[in-house]
Structure formats: structure tokens, C-alpha cells
């Protein structure tokens, strides 16, 4: 069993868009990868709904696990993807974090 602990890099966390990119990347792999976040999970990395139940926000530590031949290479790739700020690569997300701080509590 191989394992990687990764900090979620996307500014908005592992939400619908980032989760979808990640799930799609995990789907076409020869090994089954699971993701856990704190007490939540593990869920299959290829399951969009499963990933969403984790509620992993930006900066959350998640644990990726996989078994079998090629597991390490797959985990390395998926960890790198998860650590990236995928939201910054979204044209509409340029000012994430600057908006909405003055709202009611």
C-alpha cells in the first residue's frame, strides 16, 4: 500500500470544478486510488460525489492511497495535480479571496 499526504492547493478547495478534474484524472488509471480527509473517507478518487463528501477546503491535508503495480507513479501524478491551484487556471477565478470579506458574519 502506497500513501501520499497532500495539501489541497486550489484556492476554493476540492470543490465541484477541481474535484471533477481530479476525478477524471484518477478514473483512467490501472490502480484504484482512495482519498481521505480527516475523519471523512476514504472515498474512491474517481468518484466526484465521493470527493465532494470530504468537504476538503483550501489547505486541508488529504491522504491518497493506492495498491498494486504502478501505484507510486499514479500517486505522484495525482498528488501533484491536487497540490496545484487549479482555480488559478480558471479564467473566472482571478480575484478569488479578495471578494466578500465585508459581508455579514
Amino acid at each position: 500500500m502506497s500513501e501520499r499526504i497532500v495539501t489541497v492547493g486550489s484556492a476554493q478547495g476540492l470543490h465541484a470544478r477541481t474535484a471533477k478534474i481530479f476525478a477524471e484524472a484518477a478514473a483512467g488509471r490501472p490502480v484504484r486510488v482512495t482519498v481521505a480527509c480527516g475523519a471523512k473517507g476514504p472515498v474512491p478518487a474517481a468518484s466526484l460525489l465521493g470527493l465532494l463528501t470530504l468537504g476538503a477546503v483550501h489547505g486541508a491535508e488529504v491522504t491518497l492511497r493506492a495498491d498494486g503495480e504502478g501505484a507510486d507513479a499514479v500517486l505522484d501524478e495525482l498528488s501533484a495535480l491536487l497540490a496545484r491551484d487549479l482555480d488559478a487556471e480558471d479564467a473566472g477565478a482571478g480575484d478569488a479571496g479578495t471578494a466578500g470579506d465585508a459581508g455579514r458574519g
Binding site: A16, R17, L48, T53
Partner: protein, 152 residues
């Protein structure tokens, strides 16, 4: 503490018998209902369409969750949900969608809502009951974390 999905859903923001010509029409209707509920300005609809072009918000189980881009947060006046059901179905990039749960959220509140919704959809029985809910109150009930003990 994040509010639960059911608390963010005003019964007036639920439409059980909507019809849409296509995906973008369905998203525009979602934006209108959120705006009528006082949750967003009209600009939010464009933000939702932009998000959809970037990555589909189709979740599976016949459900899509239209929401805006991070840049669209300025159009959000308060966190809220809207539920629009399309009994005739809407073609969502090749996937049939009968239920749209539109999300307006400024901060991380939307992560908690998504997590809660995903739990419902992962349970085939709960997902079916949500899709087949007959009244607005029924929709809200299906989104409650537990059904056994009605707390009010």
C-alpha cells in the same frame, strides 16, 4: 458554523414543474429564481453560464448544481439555494438532468453544502426521493441530514 442545505433553501425558491429548452435556458431560470429570492443580482446568471462553459456542474444521478465562478461572488447578496425540477429532463452535455440545485455562496459555506448534497446523492434511495419529491416541503425534508427525528 456553516448553515445546512435545508436552512439555505427558501420554499419560494423551489420550482417543481419547470421546463427548459436547453442547458443554458435551465441555468438562466436558476439565476432568475435566485434573484427573485433576493440572494443574487442579475449579474450572477452570467457568472453561472461562465462556470458551466469552463466545467460542467453535472454531478450524476440526474442532478446538476449550477453556481457562479469565484469572480461572480460579488453578485451574491446572501448564501442561498434554489431547486428547479425539470420533469421533461434537460440535456446536460449528453447527460439527462431532471433536478438543478443552484448554489449562491460567498465563502466556504458552499463546500459544506456540496458535501451534504453529495451524501444525499450517494444514497440511491435518498437521491430518488429527492428527485421525486412532490412538494417544496418534501424537497427540504430530503435535504435534512437526518429524517428520523424532525427537529424544528
Amino acid at each position: 458554523m456553516a448553515e445546512s442545505a435545508a436552512r439555505l433553501l427558501d420554499p419560494r425558491a423551489i420550482r417543481l414543474d419547470a421546463r427548459a429548452a436547453d442547458r443554458d435556458d435551465a441555468i438562466r431560470q436558476c439565476g432568475r429564481v435566485l434573484a427573485e429570492a433576493g440572494a443574487v443580482t442579475a449579474a450572477y446568471t452570467e457568472s453561472m453560464l461562465e462556470r458551466e462553459q469552463s466545467v460542467s456542474t453535472h454531478l450524476g444521478e440526474g442532478v446538476a448544481i449550477p453556481h457562479g465562478t469565484a469572480g461572480g461572488k460579488d453578485a451574491v447578496l446572501r448564501d442561498a439555494l434554489a431547486v428547479l425540477r425539470f420533469p421533461g429532463g434537460v440535456d446536460w452535455n449528453g447527460h439527462p438532468v431532471t433536478l438543478c440545485i443552484a448554489i449562491a455562496a460567498r465563502g466556504d459555506g458552499h463546500m459544506a453544502i456540496l458535501a451534504e448534497l453529495a451524501e444525499v446523492l450517494l444514497d440511491p434511495g435518498r437521491a430518488r426521493r429527492l428527485r421525486e419529491a412532490g412538494t417544496a416541503a418534501d424537497v427540504i425534508r430530503q435535504l435534512q441530514p437526518t429524517e428520523e427525528e424532525p427537529t424544528r
